[in-house]
């Protein structure tokens, strides 16, 4: 836990939570070749959904952004586990999928998704710059505001 990325996380005041375990027949991540495929993560902290509802409805774009950031931090926690605890092995955040539970007239999903993209670049620098697809959905699991999945390349 004394790597460069761990130091950067400490500098930013970000504590990665213990990675959540799915309660079903799937796993939080699969390592295949040089890539880690991470399951969709949601804005849960200590087992509690922190941002529930639709952005542009009960929730503001700022709420959505905070939700995306939290989901992305949960994603990093899974990547750390996949990398055997060493985030310095992350060669690249390749792609993020950002799914935003949205009121039907809310069209600023990119701004919401920036909550995930920004924290990725804050932590990983240039290696954190990723391809991204941000879309809306009418609702999400557990009524979460945002879900984020990702593909990472490990060294």
């Amino acid at each position: 836990m004394s790597g460069k990325i761990d130091a950067r996380l400490a500098e930013l005041g970000i504590t990665l939570p213990a990675p959540a375990k799915p309660v079903a027949n799937y796993v939080p991540f699969v390592v295949s070749g040089a890539h880690v495929f991470v399951s969709g993560q949601v804005p849960i902290e200590g087992g509690v959904v922190k941002y529930a509802g639709r952005v542009g409805g009960e929730l503001s774009a700022e709420d959505g952004q905070a939700a995306a950031r939290m989901a992305a931090i949960n994603l990093m926690s899974q990547v750390r586990e996949a990398a055997g605890g060493d985030l310095d092995r992350v060669k690249r955040c390749v792609r993020l999928g950002v799914y935003v539970a949205s009121a039907a007239d809310f069209t600023d999903q990119p701004r919401v998704a920036n909550g995930a993209s920004d924290v990725m670049v804050e932590v990983f620098g240039e290696k954190g710059r990723h391809a991204r697809t941000a879309i809306a959905t009418n609702v999400l699991p557990l009524n979460c505001a945002v879900e984020v999945d990702g593909i990472f390349e490990l060294a």
Copy 2:
């Protein structure tokens, strides 16, 4: 057709259908490097949509689960084709994307998606444990209840 996975399918009483052919300029799967990327599959049997409508609306979560299972079985049928008929070549089910046509207040997409995840593990065992992203949509092609796509690693 005498492999271990074929035997397991027989044991489970699962008959893989003939793989459906898309009627457009795309293909059911692409093999790229060690990976097979499979197109979105729906709960169709013999050319007929078996589960139409929204989960949490016209359809129950149990219906949705059965739809996800059927779509996942159609997915396996494509993977078998991609593997030249030999499902024993499947090294890993890497990732499933599960899209659930949902009423706006239905939030148990994970339970629905388990219909796909469970059959994958029943058939492939540990190799069937995958990363998963389950989201809702307001509607799906042909009014299907569920769509499932996947990435598999072949040996």
Copy 3:
């Protein structure tokens, strides 16, 4: 700019636009191993959204198809950039994700998605045949009718 695919584009009368730059902490594409992961592209021309609204609502399936075609052309423009300007390096269009902003009772997303699939095959021939997942969403960024992302293999 004198490759076979460039010639084919000229023959088809398709001019690839200058690739759009995301205005956030993500990038239009990431090259990882032999693959290019391209961010979600929308039907924007010269910075202006050309197809806004929902298919099956304000927009017809034909409008949606034209939107999908435009988004796919924008995708190609990113792939050309990723390939150092040489589209002849495209070995395969591996997968397209097509997201269609849809009225709740519109179920012909495949027809809309064909707008993207068809142009891919017109331009790349057999190498353009891809795995595809087409889903609906209740709304999309900037109120776009369609969003398309992709994974390509480069030689």
